[in-house]
Symmetry: C2
Subunit: 338 residues, 2 copies
C-alpha cells in the first residue's frame, strides 16, 4: 500500500501543457463559452493526458458550496438507518454530492460535537436520522444550513421531519386481515413507550371499530421487539383466547417467534391463524416458516425523499412540518382466507 501522496496534478500543470493561462484552462474545463474551440480541445486533451482531477477543496473555498452533506445518525447499528442511508446515498450520488457520515450513538454530546465538525467541513446541508419515530429536540438552532429530519421527528414545527406513516402501516395490515374474514384479531407489539407502537395501536383500533370488531383481550400485548417475546406472548394469548384467528405483530421478529410457537402448539398458519409482521426485514420475514406477510416502511425511498427536500431547501425552497410517507403491504404465505 501507501506510496506517499504523490503531489497531484494541478490546473497549473494542465495550463502549462496546453500552453494557456490557468484562467483559460479553467474556463475550458468548465465549459464556459468564451473559449475558442481549438483552445478548449487542447486543454481537455492536456487534462486527460495528465488525469487531471480538480481539487474540490479549492473549488469549495470559492463557491461556498462543497457538494457535501452531513449525515448524522443516531444508531447506525439499528435496523432502520441502513436502508435510509442507502436511499440518501443513492439520491446524492446521482447529483455528484457526497456524504460525510457520523454516528452519534444516541449521545447528545457526541451529536453536538459532530455538528460542529461537519459545519467546520462546510457541509451544504444536514440529514439527521432518528432511530425511532419519537419526537426529539430540534438541533436546527445550531445549524446555519438546511436540515431535514428523517425517521425521528423534530419538536420544532419549523423543521421538516420525514416519517414512516405508522397509522397507514397498521391500517394496511388490519384491513388485510379483516378482508380475509378474520374476526378474532390480537396484537403483540414492542414497548409501549415507543410512539410507533402506540400510533399503530390507535390505527388498528380505528379499523377494527369500523368493521364492528374489537381487539382480542381488549388491549394489545406490549413487550419487546424480540422473538422471545413473540413466543411468550403467543403462548399466553392462545391459552386465554383459543378462538384467535389472526395476530398482527409489531415487527417481524415478534412475528417469527409467534409463528414458531403456533407450530409448536399445532396451529396451522395461515389456515387456523393468520400472522402479519412489520418492517419487512428480509432475513426474518421472507425466511420465516411460513414466509411472513408484513408491512414495508419504504425506508430507502424515505432517504431519497429527504435528499429531494434538502435540494429544494438548498435552492431556496424549504419545506417544514411533518410528512408521513405511506407504507406498503407485502403479502406472503402467513395470511390467507379464514
Amino acid at each position: 500500500m501507501a506510496r506517499q501522496r504523490s503531489q497531484s496534478v494541478t490546473l497549473t500543470d494542465v495550463a502549462r501543457r496546453a500552453g494557456v493561462s490557468v484562467a483559460t484552462a479553467s474556463k475550458a474545463l468548465n465549459a464556459r463559452d468564451e473559449v475558442a474551440p481549438e483552445t478548449r480541445r487542447r486543454v481537455l486533451q492536456a487534462a486527460d493526458e495528465l488525469s487531471f482531477q480538480p481539487n474540490v477543496l479549492a473549488r469549495g473555498l470559492i463557491s461556498g458550496r462543497t457538494r457535501t452533506i452531513g449525515l448524522l445518525t443516531d444508531e447506525l447499528a439499528g435496523r432502520f438507518s441502513i436502508p435510509i442511508l442507502l436511499g440518501v446515498e443513492n439520491a446524492l450520488g446521482s447529483e455528484q454530492m457526497s456524504v460525510l457520515l457520523c454516528d452519534a450513538r444516541g449521545d447528545a454530546i457526541r451529536r453536538r460535537h459532530y455538528i460542529r465538525t461537519l459545519l467546520a467541513r462546510q457541509v451544504d446541508g444536514f440529514i439527521i436520522l432518528g432511530d425511532s419515530n419519537d419526537v426529539r429536540p430540534s438541533l436546527t438552532g445550531d445549524i446555519p444550513v438546511p436540515v431535514v429530519y428523517v425517521y425521528g421527528e423534530s419538536d420544532d414545527p419549523n423543521d421538516l421531519s420525514l416519517l414512516a406513516d405508522d397509522a397507514d402501516g397498521a391500517r394496511l395490515a388490519t384491513e388485510h386481515l379483516v378482508s380475509l374474514g378474520r374476526r378474532n384479531i390480537a396484537h403483540i407489539t414492542g414497548p409501549e413507550n415507543y410512539r410507533a407502537a402506540r400510533d399503530r395501536v390507535a390505527s388498528l383500533r380505528d379499523v377494527l371499530d369500523g368493521a364492528g370488531l374489537s381487539l382480542i383481550g381488549g388491549e394489545p400485548l406490549y413487550g419487546e421487539w424480540s422473538q422471545r417475546w413473540g413466543r411468550h406472548a403467543a403462548r399466553m394469548l392462545l391459552s386465554s383466547y383459543p378462538e384467535i384467528d389472526a395476530i398482527f405483530c409489531g415487527n417481524d421478529q415478534i412475528a417469527t417467534g409467534v409463528a414458531n410457537t403456533l407450530r409448536d402448539l399445532g396451529r396451522r398458519i395461515p389456515d387456523d391463524v393468520s400472522i402479519v409482521g412489520y418492517d419487512n426485514w428480509h432475513e426474518f420475514a421472507a425466511d420465516c416458516q411460513p414466509p411472513l406477510t408484513t408491512v414495508d416502511l419504504n425506508l430507502q425511498q424515505l432517504g431519497e425523499t429527504a435528499v429531494k427536500h434538502l435540494f429544494a431547501a438548498l435552492d431556496g425552497q424549504p419545506s417544514s412540518g411533518v410528512i408521513r410517507q405511506p407504507c406498503r403491504l407485502v403479502v406472503r404465505d402467513s395470511t390467507g382466507p379464514a
Copy 2:
C-alpha cells in the same frame, strides 16, 4: 429549516474583534508559542464570542491533509459492513478524522467513479470494504494515497488486506464441540463458491482429524446462507444419520433453521444435538430457541485495526500482506456436554 447559509464567521472577523492581524490570530488559535499570553487570551475570547469555527477546506488546501478518509463499501446492505463501519467511525472519531462514505453496490464502474470522486475531495486515505473474504482485483494502482482492504482480500500482495480468520473461527467451533464429547459432527454451510465456507471446512476437517473423528456424511452440506436451507439440510441429515450429536452451521440463520427443525423432530438441544452458529448476529443468535453458541468475527475491531494501519501508513509506516484477525467463540445454550 433552511435559513440560507449565513455567511459564516471567518478568521478575519476574529482578528478584527481582537484587534490583531489574521496572522497573529491564526497563531494564537493554533497554540503556537510565539504569541503573547494576553494577545492569545483576547483572540480566544473573540473566537469564542463569535463562535468561530475554522474553515477546514482552507486549512486542507494549505496542509494537503484533509483529515478525511474515503470509505468504499461494496454492499452496505449486507451483514458485515455495518459493524466494520462502526469500528472505523469510532477509531477515526477519536482522531478528529471524518469519513466520506460511498457504496459501490458491487458495481466495478461505480467503484472507479467513487474512487475518482473521493480523490477529487482530497481524502487522505482509503478503506475498501469487501463483502466476502474472496480475493478481488487491487484498486491501489488508481490511488495515490494509502489504502487498506478490509474483509475482502486484494490480489496484490503489496496491498494490506485485513481479514477475519475463518480457519480460526471454525477451529474454535469444532474444538468446542469435540471438547464437549461430541463425536458425530455434521456441517451445514453456505455456497461452496464462498472462500470463507471452504476455508472453514478445511479447518473443521483438521480439527476432526486431530481428534480421530471424521465428518458425518464425509462431506459438508453446501447450500445457502438461509434458515430455509438449514431446515431442509437438517431434515436430510437426521434421516440419513440419526446418530448425529452435533451440527456446526455456517451462519446463525442456518443454525436457527436447524434448531427449529430439530425441535420439530423432537430432538433436544443441546442434550441430543449441540448446535454452533457463525457470525454472532445478535437478533438471530441470542434470540434463537435456545440461544446459539456461535463464532463472533470481531468485525468492529477489524474496522478499528484498519484505521490503525491506515494511520501508520499516513505516518510513513505502511504494511502489506494479509493479516487475519482471530475470532471469538460465544458460548450460549445450544451446546452442552454429550
